[in-house]
């Protein structure tokens, strides 16, 4: 009895060692909470603490390179796959924190921004846990940790009516979809008698399970993830929340929260429903006769088509970017459809590209809103003249989002398409390509307004602080640079596809 406990303690000790990045984030969370109580007047202190905490957590993450282990009684896994997503989440969190320093709406419409940074940290913790969760309880808790923080963040500028409205919609949709998800989890628990993804896998491999409830539970759990990645038909919250929330939070939701959603979606499918013994380079074998590939292919096609077609009619840039992020969820799902390492590597690469270009686009929107107070497309007229640097950078980001060379977005899309073609799904690639054409139309609308309209009489030139410009260049230059030379990112993505199987 005693030896078992000692064993348990040993295990706990090992686990804590591998839990260091999360621990750092939790410490940051508590520290910024306390500091905010003491130094209420300071407007940037908590932000700086958060940024430092993120950097330290990043350094701890680097220390985990190559580690693969179960921690905390197989609640969490540490593996290269989770590590990649954690980096994406952390980096986008850090960029959003830096962006927030320049946000006028945050500083002018709220009483204090202390809790804002604290909540970003909280959300990041949730996303970290989600990226490495391997137990249904952990998945649920992680999703809720990140969701509850993001509900508050979406309505942080609570004096603005649309913010509280967005936040209400977010809460309702979020609660319903997580309700559906745990109902699916309860059925899956009933069918397999376990909550651990790997045990579910083992059980499904060795036992006959009634197909209908298994399918139902799978779809219900998928619904919860689909909500997080804003896939159709669980996307309804996305445009409203992105429009109502502060720009920085829209940016965070569109990248980090989507990354966490994809991480858990891929892990859930791979760990629970893929036969590990037959897993090969060509395509994964799904156990049970559920045709996941088909279901996700439909989901991908519908998601990108709806996202792109509805985006065409938008007149608000944040809403436009919201629909564009829905469409991008569709492109990314194409990588899941492939169901093999090549597809996953393509998703990882695309995510890295998507992070940089999408954060960049939102950042430009924020800088423009700082000056003009508007996010309407019509108010972008003539900006190419009054804010040339912003115009050029926005054009770069949008071209990258469209997926035209020589930008990082093109490389991402190229790898997704080649993974899809690789597995012989030519029709899916063609649908994706046609969708890109549609997306070109509405992205072009933005820079058309910036350059072709409202040029005469020329508007007053806008000036921006050096700090904000440096951050902009830090996003714009990699977008082009990685479009030409991306080998290190590709190598990193390829080495991160291995999902630890215990």
């Amino acid at each position: 009895m005693f030896s078992v406990e000692a064993n348990f303690l040993d295990q706990l000790k090992d686990s804590i060692g591998l839990f260091l990045p999360e621990t750092v984030l939790i410490a940051t969370f508590l520290l910024s909470l306390i500091l905010d109580l003491i130094f209420r007047k300071s407007r940037t202190l908590t932000g700086i603490v958060t940024a430092i905490g993120f950097v330290v957590a990043g350094i701890c993450l680097i220390g985990q390179t190559g580690e693969t282990a179960f921690i905390f009684s197989r609640m969490l896994v540490v593996d290269p796959f989770a590590l990649f997503f954690k980096f994406v989440i952390l980096l986008s969190g850090l960029i959003v924190v830096l962006m927030s320093f320049f946000s006028k709406e945050l500083y002018e419409t709220t009483e204090g921004v202390g809790e804002y940074f604290t909540l970003i940290t909280g959300m990041t913790i949730g996303m970290f846990l989600l990226a490495s969760a391997s137990n249904l309880i952990m998945i649920y808790l992680a999703i809720e940790t990140m969701s509850i923080s993001s509900y508050i963040l979406a309505g942080y500028t609570k004096e603005i009516r649309r913010a509280s409205e967005a936040s209400l919609k977010y809460v309702i949709f979020g609660a319903v979809s997580s309700g559906i998800m745990i109902y699916g989890m309860s059925i899956l628990f009933g069918l397999t008698g376990t909550l651990n993804l790997f045990d579910i896998n083992t059980f499904l491999l060795s036992n006959e399970v009634n197909m209908v409830p298994l399918m139902l539970s799978g779809l219900m759990i998928l619904a919860g993830f689909a909500y997080k990645i804003s896939a159709v038909p669980f996307h309804f919250w996305t445009p409203d929340v992105y429009e109502g929330a502060p720009v920085t939070i829209s940016a965070l939701l569109s990248v980090a929260s989507k990354a966490a959603g994809f991480a858990v979606l891929i892990r859930f499918l791979k760990s629970a429903f893929i036969d590990p013994t037959l897993s090969s380079d060509v395509a994964w074998n799904t156990i049970s006769s559920i045709d996941w590939q088909y279901i996700i292919a439909i989901l991908a096609v519908v998601t990108m088509t709806v996202g792109n077609l509805v985006a065409v009619w938008q007149t608000n840039v944040k809403r436009l970017l919201a629909y564009s992020s829905i469409a991008h969820a569709g492109y990314l799902l194409m990588g899941v459809v492939v169901m093999n390492e090549i597809g996953i590597a393509a998703i990882l690469l695309y995510f890295f590209a998507y992070m940089i270009m999408n954060l960049g686009a939102f950042y430009v929107v924020m800088l423009i809103a700082n000056k003009t107070g508007s996010e309407e497309l019509d108010d972008y007229q003539g900006l190419g003249h009054s804010a040339p640097v912003l115009g050029v950078c926005m054009t770069i980001f949008l071209i990258s989002l469209t997926g035209l060379p020589p930008t990082f977005g093109f490389i991402g899309k190229l790898y997704i398409f080649s993974a899809v073609l690789d597995s012989g799904l030519i029709w899916l690639a063609v649908v994706g390509v046609l969708n890109s054409v549609v997306s070109l139309y509405y992205y072009a609308k933005v820079f058309r307004n910036m350059y072709f309209r409202g040029m005469d009489p020329p508007k007053e030139p806008m000036t921006f602080s050096y700090g904000s410009m440096i951050l902009l260049f830090l996003l714009a230059i990699p977008t082009v640079l990685f479009g030409v030379y991306f080998t290190p990112i590709l190598a990193w993505a390829k080495s991160s596809v291995e999902i630890f199987f215990g």
């Binding site: 509850i148 509900y151 649309r162 509280s164 409205e165 209400l168 309700g179």
Partner: protein, 103 residues
């Protein structure tokens, strides 16, 4: 005692409650009632978990229930706070009157 009532009854009841909750979310317009419906959904999940847990003799399901309860409380707290913020802005808690944002 539990053996007297078959598992199917628990599951049936839970699914009915879940459906009632879902329909409630979809048709009711009062934000408070929407939140109550969400609670119904979560409680039906709890019932399913407990039912299965007892049936399988595995306590993991019951552990899950505790977490669901805790999270539901947190979610309700947040939800009500947001409803309050909205009420201050708009003097209404009816979701169909909340329409600044639309597609």
């Amino acid at each position: 005692m539990i053996n007297a009532i078959p598992l199917e009854y628990y599951l049936g009841l839970a699914s009915i409650i879940f459906l009632i909750g879902t329909v409630g979310v979809l048709v009711r317009r009062n934000a408070i009632i929407v939140f109550m419906s969400i609670e119904l959904m979560l409680n039906s999940v709890n019932l399913t978990f407990v039912g299965f847990s007892t049936y399988l003799g595995d306590t993991a399901g019951q552990v899950f229930v505790f977490f669901v309860m805790a999270v539901a409380a947190a979610e309700a707290a947040i939800g009500l706070a947001i409803v309050l913020a909205l009420f201050r802005n708009k003097q209404t808690i009816y979701v169909d009157e909340v329409n600044v944002l639309k597609w």
